[in-house]
């Protein structure tokens, strides 16, 4: 098992050194394909978990425990006709889901899965992610406007206003992270959190972590902030008119965005692929049998910690949806503008002073 993982890691570095087109393409597919599979099973997990929380069974017909349900849904949607409304702008109508999808996935180009497993280790990583998540709004606005339907337009307007309101709080939370780590490079941000789980940034930046995650939920238009597509008032918001594959692409993009927010929360505030245990305290251990070898591998830093942390936040998204009732629109705007933004502004001041007077753990 270790050999396999080691080989995999060295494969990754090997491809990085061969800076030619095919190897990069293979790496991109190595990120995209697992991500698409995770998206498929995220929808399945959502239906299963919410069903369990509500005392239902959830999908259980297609395959054992309904495990093939996402693929059955995908095939069904693929063979459905994409109806284009008569009064719509045809080209923009078909372009909108592609924009949303592209933006949701391309942010993964700079996400480090491991100390070496990263497609492109650029210095402006966080800036790139902030820029791309802001671009997501274009897909929504274009979809809502080009459909030429009242529900779509209202949904798109609401969605846009909500996303940009929470974008600000999110940006301020990111500034707090950069102030401590002193770098925009995501790998450096993770390295700044080295140590045990008490060295992760969620300890010094706890309010900013809460603000970031709440903004992330609002940014992806998920419950309890899903007024933009509230079924009971706007049918489905900006994608009312979409059917078949057009709808499926929006759906995949939404779930990819949720996974991205979870991964970013894990990276920025919970140390990404770092282990929660202090590895130096284990230094003098004698290790010769297989079991403790496996245990040590698990305790060490690695991609599995990144996956576990991301899965936890992905679960939170589903958990929130099953638990909280929907906010009213004016409540959402109040939370964004009057609560989250003041909190982040005050925290930036506080953090600035802490760093200036070199107070631990804010000063690294």
């Amino acid at each position: 098992m270790f050999d396999f993982l080691n080989n995999f890691t060295s494969l990754f570095t090997f491809f990085n050194e061969l800076s030619i087109l095919p190897s990069t393409l293979i790496l991109i597919l190595l990120i995209m394909v697992p991500l698409l599979i995770v998206v498929a099973y995220y929808t399945y997990a959502e239906r299963k978990i919410i069903a369990s929380m509500q005392g239902r069974l959830g999908p259980n017909v297609v395959g054992p425990y309904g495990l093939f349900q996402p693929f059955a849904d995908g095939v069904k949607l693929f063979f459905k006709e994409i109806i284009i409304p008569v009064d719509s702008n045809k080209f923009l109508f078909l372009l909108a889901p592609v924009i949303t999808f592209t933006v949701a996935f391309s942010a993964w180009a700079v996400i480090p899965f491991d100390s070496v497993m990263v497609l492109s280790n650029i210095n402006a990583g966080l800036l790139y992610i902030l820029a791309l998540t802001s671009l997501g709004i274009y897909g929504i606005i274009i979809a809502g406007w080009s459909s030429n339907s009242k529900y779509s337009l209202l949904g798109a307007m609401r969605s846009a206003a909500q996303i940009i309101a929470y974008e600000i709080a999110m940006g301020f939370a990111l500034v707090g992270v950069i102030m401590i780590s002193g770098s925009l490079n995501i790998g450096d941000i993770i390295h700044a959190q080295k140590g045990s789980m008490l060295n992760w940034l969620w300890v010094p930046l706890f309010p900013l972590f809460l603000v970031y995650f709440i903004s992330g939920v609002a940014e992806t238009n998920r419950a309890p902030f899903d007024v933009a597509e509230g079924e009971s008032e706007l049918v489905a918001g900006f994608h009312v008119e979409y059917s078949g594959m057009g709808f499926a692409i929006f759906f995949i993009a939404e779930y990819a965005n949720m996974i991205l927010i979870s991964a970013l929360t894990a990276i920025l505030f919970f140390g990404g692929w770092l282990s929660p245990f202090n590895l130096n305290s284990l230094g003098g251990l004698e290790i010769n049998d297989v079991v403790s070898n496996i245990l040590l591998f698990f305790i060490n830093d690695g991609i599995h910690w990144f996956i576990i942390k991301t899965l936890f936040f992905m679960f939170c998204f589903i958990w929130f949806r099953a638990t909280f009732p929907r906010y009213r629109y004016d409540q959402i705007m109040r939370l964004g503008w009057k609560i989250l933004i003041p909190i982040t502004l005050i925290w930036i001041f506080v953090e600035m002073l802490f760093i200036y007077y070199k107070v631990e753990p804010w000063f690294l």
């Binding site: 459905k80 999808f101 492109s120 846009a160 206003a161 008119e241 109040r334």
Partner: protein, 119 residues
Amino acid sequence: MLSNYFPILLFIIVSAAIGAFPIILSRLINKGKNNNKAKTSAYECGFDSFDDARMKFDIRYYLVAILFIIFDLEIAFLFPWAVALESLGTSGLITMSIFLLVLIIGFIYEWKKGALDWD
């Protein structure tokens, strides 16, 4: 240096292709038949839609967008400052405090004027 950004460009192109491919293929497979008015008109709870959807909308959406530009610019200013925070020392602290204070005064003004209320 620039070669670091090439994989990102390629990633954007590949994800756009993966997003567009199923839509194009699905359009080719499922040719729309019976495109009658009831099927292709915009959804409006079963009624005939009686107006163009591109109607007037609430001014507050516009206001929120303008406020967003101001604050997003502020964040854009804060990013490089936060990276260089430790090397800037006291002058960096004071300059940014003044900058933030001016913005916070504006924010309080908006708040008191009711630009952030929504009902």
